[in-house]
């Protein structure tokens, strides 16, 4: 499946949901927020939220800032 993750096009195999995508990237348990096609996905909905070819995903976290 072709996904655009944080602005970069990636070919990701074997993932059907947001939860599976995060697991594939080894991001489970990290403090982060997911936005799928400009819609924020709540954490408890990760395993039910399906992904489609061409989806835009933003995965963000907190960094140092003023």
């Amino acid at each position: 499946m072709r996904l655009i993750v944080n602005g970069e096009e990636r070919e990701v195999a074997g993932v059907a949901t947001v939860a599976e995508l995060l697991a594939a990237f080894k991001l489970e348990g990290k403090i982060l927020v997911v936005e799928l096609n400009k819609r924020i996905i709540e954490r408890n909905a990760y395993s039910e939220t399906g992904l489609s070819d061409g989806d835009h995903i933003e995965i963000v976290h907190f960094v140092g800032g003023g």
Partner: protein, 257 residues
């Protein structure tokens, strides 16, 4: 005497808010945060580096029970962008306060007043506790409060410039009529600047570069902690007025002849 700083429904003992950007290392940062006594820490929201997810991250070192997170909308040049970032921050479940930062110009990083007001209105409606970073324009500060801002955060001078307070008059006007806390944010350079802000009657000071960019950030953090306290005591203690002529401290009577 040492009354709490009240922002929205929250109360804090420390009147120094600390930014977490541009520290040389996590160790230096941890020490500086500790020595500052700050309870509120600001953060930015950025893309997680997918190919390097375990890169050192300051938030992950924190005991979140000891701090209140104040994420910012830094990077936003429009109200829409600021709102998007704010919603992402809130979705983390870690915080409902947001520092609205809508910038009008990349060189000066001065706030876009219209975008700032717009974003504040939208986010107040969505239940955020909004702390807008604003210019030192008293009318804008008034409108932000009318829009429901939980505090107003006028800049002393451009972000990271270290110039200190360039317009104490306007800050005084803002402080005089404010119905919410006034937190001087941006441009603080040295402890004297923070003390002055508090002596003018500000409720708190927010700074980042002044500590992270100092040669000894941990020591500077402590200096600012003391400066904010000194300025606050000075304000509450009621200073003497400035006079044109002298007023002798020693008595006139009883002089030997």
């Amino acid at each position: 005497m040492n009354s709490a700083l009240k922002i929205g429904p929250y109360e804090f003992k420390s009147r120094l808010l600390l930014g977490t950007g541009k520290f040389a290392s996590l160790d230096v940062q941890s020490e500086a945060v500790k020595r500052s006594g700050a309870e509120i820490l600001t953060f930015a929201i950025r893309r997680l580096p997918i190919d390097n997810p375990d890169a050192p991250n300051f938030l992950e070192t924190l005991d979140l029970k000891q701090f209140t997170l104040l994420p910012n909308t830094a990077g936003a040049y429009t109200a829409e962008e600021a709102v998007r970032i704010a919603r992402l921050a809130k979705a983390s479940g870690l915080c409902d306060m947001i520092k609205v930062e809508v910038i009008g110009d990349p060189k000066t990083l001065l706030p876009d007043p219209i975008g700032t007001l717009e974003a504040t209105k939208i986010l107040v409606d969505e239940g955020f506790i909004v702390l807008p970073y604003t210019s030192d324009d008293p009318i804008l500060a008034r409108k932000l409060q009318e829009a429901g801002a939980a505090a107003v955060m006028p800049g002393a001078s451009p972000i990271g410039s270290g110039q200190g307070i360039v317009n104490p008059n306007n800050l005084r006007f803002i402080i005089e009529e404010a119905k919410v806390p006034v937190i001087v944010d941006a441009g603080i350079g040295g402890p004297a600047d923070a003390a002055l802000a508090m002596e003018l009657g500000a409720d708190a000071v927010l700074l980042n570069t002044a500590v992270s960019g100092a040669k000894d950030p941990a020591l500077m953090a402590e200096a600012f902690k003391l400066a904010v306290q000194a300025g606050r005591f000075g304000y509450l203690a009621g200073r003497i007025p400035k006079k044109r002529y002298a007023s002798a401290s020693s008595p006139a009577e009883g002089m030997i002849e």
